[in-house]
Amino acid sequence: MDIPLTRTWITTVATTIAEQSDYLTQLDSAIGDADHGVNMNRGFSAVVAALDGYEATSVGDVLLRTGTTLVSRVGGASGPLYGTAFRAMGKVLDGTDVDDRDVAAALRAGLEGLQKLGAAVPGDKTIVDAYAPALEAFDSDLDNGGTLASAASAAADAARDGMRGTTAMQARKGRASYLGPRSVGHQDPGATSTWLIFRALAEVTDRAAPSTVEA
């Protein structure tokens, strides 16, 4: 994954988030405070502006700047959590073109940073419930000889399943936890935005991948 592809990933995330902003806010309205879409959209719009004209010297630079911007523009729970995750990814990717295992390591560093900060574990009905299975799928796809594109695609699918799995959970972290048993039956907004982020990765890596059609 090189610098342009990383940029494309982030701008694609921004576009997706903008499109899905109302949906995310609606999910947050059911078990939260109806701002997750607005928060994420404010953050990623700022990220796009911050990356515009920014001369990154490494893949990590792009992700670090993404994370820093999220921290300083989003607020709420999602700002520090996603911001920290992107910053953690950025810190471990100092090349201009990093290989697939580096990306896997970065994604892992991101999850670790996020969990260290937010103390959520799988089953708490949070970002972690989409992110953790996505990371696992990414790793095992690579273990099975997959490409960046196939790993990202597997990760996106796993994130989607993880996200769907949050519906049955009772929240133990974040604002939804205040609802107690009433949080059950609603899909977690943060897990949903995590899915969108992995889906964007799958999309851009697929487009960038050498054509796999029998050539």
């Binding site: 939260g32 405070d33 133990r172 604002r175 936890s177 205040y178």
Partner: protein, 332 residues
Amino acid sequence: MKKFINAPDDVVREALAGVAAAHADLRVDVSNQIVVRTDAPVAGKVGLVSGGGSGHEPLHGGFVGAGMLDAAAPGEIFTSPVPDQILAATKAVDGGAGVVHIVKNYTGDVLNFQMAAELALDDGVRVETVLVDDDVAVENSTWTAGRRGTGATLIVEKVAGAAAAEGQALEAVAGVGRRINESSASFAVALTACTTPAAGKPGFDLPDDEMEVGVGIHGEPGRRREKLLSAKEIVRIAYDAIQSAKPLQPADRVIVIVNGLGATPLIELYLLFGEVAAVLKDAGVEIVRNLVGNYVTSLDMAGMSVTVCRADDEILRLWDAPVRTPALRWGT
């Protein structure tokens, strides 16, 4: 959605412009969303900073002034402020004696204040954090996000503000703030959902004969939904919840706040206060100070919260100390 606004995205900044125009003794940085006392930093005085999502006015900006907060960092509607903002507020009020962060216990608030405190420390500012988690509707547990911070925040800000004003040191100011939090319990009931400008419609639908019991101040539904009851019965529910979480004893002296969530008329709040007074009297608990009004709101939510804080002489002395802010003012 019916609101006196121009555009949903501009509400917080335009309201801050109004705060700036209304209060000459506050320094309002509209674009960075910081409200600071004009005389800050006061050399040698512990600085007090609070903040959180907007939509809870007068909390926190309305409590900035002599004897209470030195600065407030209001975030977007129901969204905690960002670290940069909190850091800027912290540095603006550091008079060399350190700064106390008064933080309501929500994941977003906690994380953003924590990041800001780390950045402040990097810049050589000592920060103590007082976490407010008085809402007994939520059960406490180390496995969850724990209890929310609501009405007691005002008491923490007032009492810690008075301690700072009289020259107490950083740890002492934070200490009395924490003591207030431990001595306080709140419980809220909503009759309607609120509408954030961004969402444009109420956060939940509530039939005309039902209420949300154990509701928070961010438009989220409560712990449970019940048939609408009389004021007397509702106060009883709140009292029972408080009693089972943080029992009051006969002869306890308490500060009571009957707080409106934004769309409940004062006449109803006074009626509720009368019911609270009756219940506490029966329990042998003495109300020694009180507030009745809109202090910690939730936009246009019709609802109320009751906060009870056990108070000793020291706390009462600090409560009675002069305060001069837009929303709370007494003494000389």
